[in-house]
């Protein structure tokens, strides 16, 4: 973003702006990710792997700030509930293949 040096009189430049945020918020964000991915059927190593990857900035920031142990605790809490079940998706049996209609008729 900062291709140019900040213009101090530009109110849209987010320079030195303080927003409310602390460990509690980060903890809530990490818990949200843990819950969501546990519900999607991810395993413990997969969810922890998500937090450890720097490319996923939000999750990685939480991992950096809170530490592996705190994140693992959150993941275990989520898996204790959502990891109990598995979601089985079954596609309906298709009828005979419908021929693809490549062109619309001009009529």
């Amino acid at each position: 973003m900062p291709f140019d040096d900040p213009e101090i009189d530009d109110p849209n430049e987010l320079v030195g702006v303080e927003l409310p945020g602390d460990e509690t918020v980060t903890l809530e964000m990490a818990a949200a990710f843990a819950d969501e991915f546990a519900q999607l059927g991810f395993t413990r190593p997969q969810i922890l792997g998500l937090f450890r990857r720097a490319e996923y900035t939000g999750a990685y920031q939480a991992w950096t700030l809170l530490g592996e142990e705190a994140i693992a605790t959150l993941v275990d809490e989520s898996l204790a509930v959502w990891g109990r079940v598995r979601y089985v998706v079954t596609d309906a049996v298709a009828d005979e293949a419908v021929p693809a209609r490549l062109f619309r008729s001009r009529s």
């Binding site: 945020g21 949200a32 999607l40 939000g58 990685y60 109990r84 079940v85 598995r86 998706v89 693809a100």
Partner: protein, 422 residues
């Protein structure tokens, strides 16, 4: 100006044209709690529709980091500021979120982009309050928006070790966006050539390339900045909602309406898109078993993006539960607290509907739940959780089943050689 009903604002408002509503409306729900900004949606759209010369800066679908980023840069902050300038201190909501479908978020007492234009713009022909982003604001979406600073002196280049740059030491979230195919499109209202139209069959907003002369009035007017100018053709372009897929005329669809490319590519399973039935007054007609209707009007977990702009957008978001509430109320309106409360403590039905996301690329018109026994009761983060062995079944346009998701307790069969071991 005509007077039209905007149910998201809980009141009538002014709009340059009379209200006309399609039979059904293209709509979608994005669950922000799940988005990790993998950009699969962005690339699916890019590789399908905007890979040509002159479209390099175009991202019909994009994911941006809020509150720091935006595509174009500061799009929402700028239009919010313009509205505030037009109506200082008056951009507020009155009343309280209600259960009904008429005023679900209370009543917006401020000015929409159409109403503010009447008061502040000249000449009289100026219909929508907006602005034209600069070239720099369109350029380089996402670059460094997760980071407060880049390397000194390095410009227009992705940092090879970008992941080591400092990150914002506070909350943020990822906002996935496409055209909202609004019920009262600002792009359509602003076009002097009437090149933009809303389809009667599905409410998709399209821009007729043969009629467009590239005045960029739509680019200026769209508060979400989802209409974009193409220099080499001297016309504007916008998201077309992958309409051949939605129509079911895409060769892959086999005649069954399909979700758009960006929806289908979502690996985080945050997206669901469909078509909702509209009543004569433009509100959503009662369609209890439509999953979108359920999330917006029954569970009330999905909210429109910046409803105060007044375009009645058809994109809805399940807000991120960790983000400061005042920020979310500005972005999604007063329904935020209720939406997060309902999402954090989901009902049995909501849990089932959330299992419909991204199990198929066909549009779901209806769902049914076959209830099973309770298999777990406990608590998570201080909230009560109950799990049921339910099955949720999705049906397509023709009423035929598309798929079913079943919650199962895994059964571990002990192998014969350990049959008697503990």
């Amino acid at each position: 100006m005509s007077t039209v009903k905007n149910w998201q604002l809980g009141r009538d408002m002014n709009y340059p044209y009379d209200a006309r509503f399609p039979k059904q409306q293209f709509a979608f729900v994005f669950n922000i709690n799940r988005c990790i900004a993998c950009q699969s949606c962005t690339m699916a759209c890019k590789s399908t529709w905007t890979f040509n010369k002159g479209q390099e800066h175009m991202w019909w679908a994009n994911v941006e980091t809020k509150p720091y980023g935006g595509y174009p840069k500061w799009w929402d902050a700028k239009i919010l500021e313009k509205l505030e300038d037009a109506n200082p201190g008056g951009q507020v909501w009155g009343g309280k979120p209600a259960d009904g479908r008429d005023k679900p978020y209370g009543t917006f007492e401020g000015q929409t982009i159409f109403e503010a234009a009447q008061r502040t713009l000249t000449p009289d022909s100026a219909r929508v309050l907006g602005y034209l982003p600069t070239d720099e604001e369109w350029n380089a979406p996402n670059i460094y928006e997760d980071n407060p600073i880049g390397k000194k002196g390095v410009r227009n280049k992705i940092d090879e070790t970008g992941e080591q740059l400092p990150v914002h030491n506070t909350w943020f979230f990822y906002l996935a966006r496409i055209c909202n195919h609004c019920s009262y499109p600002a792009c359509l209202a602003a076009c002097p050539r009437k090149a933009i139209y809303k389809r009667a069959e599905d409410g998709i907003v399209l821009l007729d390339q043969a009629e467009c002369r590239g005045y960029r009035k739509c680019v200026e007017a769209c508060p979400y900045k989802k209409s974009m100018y193409r220099g080499n053709t001297r016309t504007s372009e916008k998201c077309i909602a992958c309409y051949p897929r939605v129509e079911g005329t895409d060769p892959e669809s086999g005649g069954e309406p399909m979700e758009t490319r960006c929806m289908s590519a979502c690996i985080g399973q945050i997206r669901m898109q469909g078509l909702v039935k509209l009543a004569e007054d433009g509100t959503w007609a009662e369609d209890r078993q439509n999953p979108l209707y359920f999330m917006v009007h029954v569970a009330k977990v999905a909210l429109p993006l910046y409803p105060q702009f007044g375009t009645q957008p058809n994109g809805y978001y399940i807000p991120p539960r960790w983000v400061a509430r005042p920020y979310l109320r500005q972005m999604f309106g007063p329904g935020v607290d209720r939406a997060i409360e309902n999402y954090v403590s989901p009902s049995r039905e909501l849990l089932a509907v959330l299992q419909l996301f991204r199990r198929s690329n066909r549009i779901i018109y209806k769902y049914e739940i076959k209830e099973g026994p309770k298999i777990y009761e406990g608590s998570l983060h201080g909230k009560k959780v109950e799990l049921y062995n339910d099955t949720v079944i999705a049906f397509g346009k023709s009423g035929r089943e598309i798929f079913r998701t079943t919650v199962e307790e895994p059964i571990h069969v002990r192998p014969n050689i350990h049959a008697n071991s503990i």
